[in-house]
């Protein structure tokens, strides 16, 4: 049934098809890998459920040493703000802190402590240097669900009117700031 005699050329082409498909997929993988080493391709940047939508409704309590904020605060903005989910127990968050501390002079950063004890989050900010203009605490991680956060650190660029313009689920790097965040933030200002 499936092995009816057919012309030799057709048979040859048919038998070579798996090789061609595998070759194509292999080239794709190769480009992904080389893109990952250069930093131009990031498969972990897939989840962006909230992109180009208004920030979800939330009101969060203060997290020392800053004051908390709500969705209304973000929606009332005239200039872009970076919203950064962090936690004291997260190693990549420690790694991105020096970069955030440099960035804070160019762009306001608002932090949300994710599922963290207040004293731990305070200690973390004191040790690592505080890049945050305002800090809120998301103790139970419920606001994070609405934001679509899958883990920390995650960072959102919120434009005027509280619209989420950009999102990453990995630590912020200098390359991201110069290539993506600042150009986007500058274009949103005007």
């Amino acid at each position: 049934m499936s092995e009816q005699p057919s012309s030799p050329t057709r048979r040859r082409l048919l038998m070579a098809a798996p090789l061609v498909v595998a070759g194509g997929v292999g080239v794709g993988f190769w480009r992904m890998l080389s893109g990952m080493t250069r930093g131009s391709f990031d498969p972990h940047d897939i989840h962006a459920p909230a992109l180009n939508r208004p920030v979800p409704d939330f009101t969060l309590p203060d997290q020392a040493p800053g004051t908390g904020f709500s969705a209304a605060d973000l929606r009332g903005l005239k200039a872009p703000v970076l919203v950064n989910y962090f936690a004291s127990w997260c190693i990549p968050c420690v790694a991105e802190m020096p970069v955030l501390n440099v960035l804070k002079d160019r762009l306001p950063i608002w932090g949300i402590a994710y599922k963290d004890k207040p004293e731990h989050a305070l200690g973390f900010v004191q040790r690592a240097g505080n890049p945050y203009a305002r800090i809120a605490a998301d103790h139970d991680g419920l606001a994070a669900i609405d934001w679509g956060v899958s883990g920390v650190p995650e960072t959102f660029l919120v434009g005027p009117g509280g619209i989420i313009r950009w999102h990453t689920a990995s630590p912020i790097t200098e390359a991201m700031i110069t290539n993506t965040i600042m150009p986007l933030a500058d274009s949103l200002k005007s």
Binding site: R12, M15, A16, A22
Partner: protein
């Protein structure tokens, strides 16, 4: 027993594997008996070297040798002994070594149990296994050496990811890997057959036991993995279509197709080229799964050590193994002779249909898994493919597969008529119709109803198949018993495996009716779910060997009568700053009562606790069904007919059964 010895043994194994890959191939093409005889010797030697190497790594972990980087990064003095051992494969380097060791054991098994194979075929099969092993051992030595040292050695290790500190996950990787790697043997047979340019019934008979064995391990491994995500992650689900889960499902689907199409090669000498391609494809998917998980290309909750440099090495290895074998296939397959013809309505016809449906399911799962990274690569779009896509595409293909599964074993070979088969299945059809009606009233959703009905159909038709063969109730029980004793075990094995599929699907359909609630309660407060009253009676702190815990006590009552007391807990591992939830599950085999302790809110004087309460009907059936499937496979492996050399007697039994 020290790390240097382990490293040396690994390097030695790599050299032997390289020799094993080259010398027997030369021997087989020159018909040189002495060179061919090297194959089994080298395979066994390589196996011994790798087992030694692996034992050295375990020894280093048990003795807290933190000068070994891998042990320092993944172990700690305070870790329980069991997890010191199992932690060896709970990380990238160790798991690659485990992979290589299982592959060498496969080669050793072909050397030891394949003595009745023609010597040229055996030499070629072992050579192919040696080539793949050499690649993995080189990978292990160069980019992920588990024996790399650190100086100065730390006083204590960093400990392991607490999520992995679990008995289910401790034994899951070896079983799953045995499944993955086991398909290397059918792959090697396929390559050897392509080199020889000959595939016949005997080839089908040799390949099938290895494929069935690998399939059993893979089935067990997948069932354990899904069970683990059910009770460890605390999400109350069992399958999330996570790329890592799909990476094991894809070779399982093609492996299942392979196990069935090899029957057609064995009995009817048809579907030969297709079977060879399936053997190559199944192992290729196993290898690619490893690659995708370890390179970091796929997004997954099961994050492993992601390193593009390692990805490049594995990609090169894949290009050699998969590209090389598909090239060989493209050149040699057109020369293979095609085999026996058959009518569309026949056992072969249904097996072809089974292959088409299984491969279609495989194709959609593959598409859903690979779509996001490729869309991102080609168009820069970020897309996530989730459960809705997979449910919508796989279930409509799975339902006809199950319907035809019921007919398959009853169909005669070559040419069949539907009517006699249908007549034998009349009572199974009646039970299915009843199930359909009952399920419609109970569930009210179309897909679970269809799934339930087809599952009942598969289970009943498996029973009907056996009953028919035994002439149960149509002749004295003593004679049926006589028939049962002379019936080949493979027949029982196939019926069991099919019934197991039905049981798994019933479990899935039951789980679609699960109820759950997230509540925030004070101690002493009660909540209702699925007719039971759940009361949080107590929350207490507790101490473990390397963690502190908060343990809740929940009493579940039905109409005032105590059903069970659950103790879900939350563990905090100080050394990793990580907390894990320990789910409490009570099962009566018809449903699971499943409780999770969440966060604590409010001040210490008057705290409230978040609880997740689940009522999961038929949940245990999914894993039970998986075990039954694997057991069915094992039973048919124990059939004397699969042992080459005793094929004749089985014929007479078939004649008796057919009368």
């Amino acid at each position: 027993m020290n790390p240097e010895l382990g490293n040396f043994a690994l390097a030695l194994a790599c050299c032997m594997a390289a020799g094993q890959a080259i010398l027997p191939l030369i021997g087989a093409s020159r018909r040189d008996a002495r060179l061919m005889a090297l194959a089994p010797a080298l395979a066994v030697g390589q196996m011994i070297a790798l087992i030694t190497s692996f034992a050295c790594l375990i020894h280093a972990a048990i003795t807290n040798d933190f000068s070994v980087q891998n042990v320092a990064a993944n172990s700690a003095v305070s870790k329980p002994l069991l997890y010191k051992i199992t932690g060896v494969w709970g990380n990238h380097e160790g798991s690659v070594l485990l992979w290589a060791m299982i592959l060498s054991i496969c080669g050793g098994a072909v050397a030891l149990f394949g003595r009745n194979l023609p010597s040229a075929l055996q030499a070629r099969v072992i050579a192919v296994l040696g080539g793949v092993a050499a690649g993995f051992e080189l990978f292990c030595l160069t980019t992920s050496n588990p024996f790399a040292r650190v100086w100065p050695a730390p006083m204590d290790g960093q400990g392991m990811n607490p999520l992995l500190q679990d008995p289910g996950l401790a034994f899951h990787p070896p079983i799953l890997y045995t499944g993955y790697v086991g398909f290397a043997v059918p792959f090697a047979f396929a390559i050897a057959a392509l080199i020889e340019g000959r595939v016949d019934a005997a080839w089908g008979r040799w390949v099938r036991p290895w494929a069935v064995a690998a399939w059993c391990f893979l089935t067990c491994g997948i069932a354990m993995g899904s069970w683990w995500s059910y009770y460890v992650l605390g999400w109350g689900g069992y399958w999330f279509w996570d790329p890592v889960e799909n990476a094991s499902l894809i070779p399982w689907l093609t492996g299942t197709a392979l196990v069935h199409s090899a029957i057609v090669v064995e009995k009817r000498e048809a579907l030969k080229i297709w079977t060879v391609l399936l053997a190559i494809g199944t192992f290729s998917f196993s290898l690619s799964g490893t690659f995708l998980v370890r390179s970091g290309i796929l997004n997954s909750v099961h994050a492993f050590a992601n390193d593009p440099a390692r990805g490049v090495f594995i990609l090169g290895l894949l290009a050699l193994v998969i590209g090389g074998s598909l090239l060989l296939f493209a050149i040699r397959a057109p020369q293979l002779t095609t085999g026996g013809l058959f009518a569309p309505v026949s056992r072969e016809g249904l097996l072809v249909l089974n292959n088409i449906l299984l491969c279609s399911i495989c194709a959609v799962v593959l598409t859903g898994t690979m779509y996001p990274p490729f869309m991102s690569l080609l168009f820069g779009k970020t897309i996530s493919v989730g459960k809705p896509f997979f449910d919508a595409t796989t279930i409509p293909l799975a339902i006809p597969l199950m319907v035809f599964m019921g007919f398959g074993p009853m169909m005669p070979w070559k040419r069949a008529q539907m009517w006699p088969v249908l007549r034998r299945l009349w009572w199974a059809a009646c039970v299915t119709a009843v199930a359909l009606v009952v399920a419609t009233f109970q569930m009210r959703e179309i897909l679970p109803v269809l799934a339930t009905a087809t599952a009942v159909w598969v289970i009943c038709s498996s029973v009907a198949d056996i009953a028919e063969r035994l002439r149960l109730f149509r002749q004295p029980l003593g004679q049926s018993w006589q028939r049962a004793r002379s019936l080949p075990r493979a027949v029982f094995g196939a019926a069991l495996a099919h019934a197991g599929v039905g049981i798994v699907v019933l479990g899935i359909a039951g789980m679609s009716q699960a109820a759950h609630r997230i509540v925030e309660v004070h101690v002493g407060q009660s909540e209702m779910l699925a007719g039971d009253s759940w009361t949080l009676t107590d929350v207490k702190p507790a101490e473990g060997p390397n963690y502190t815990a908060l343990v809740a006590t929940i009493e579940v009552r039905h109409n005032g009568k105590l059903v069970t007391t659950l103790h879900p807990s939350k563990r905090t591992f100080a050394s990793q700053h990580q907390t894990t939830t320990e789910v409490a599950i009570h099962t009566n085999l018809m449903a699971d009562i499943y409780g999770v302790l969440g966060d604590k809110h409010g001040d210490d004087a008057n705290p409230t606790y978040v609880l997740r309460l689940h009522y999961n009907p038929l949940a245990p059936w999914m894993w039970l069904g998986g075990l039954i499937m694997a057991f069915g496979g094992a039973l048919s492996l124990s059939d004397r007919r699969v042992r080459v050399g005793a094929p004749r007697r089985a014929k007479t039994v078939d004649v008796v059964v057919a009368q």
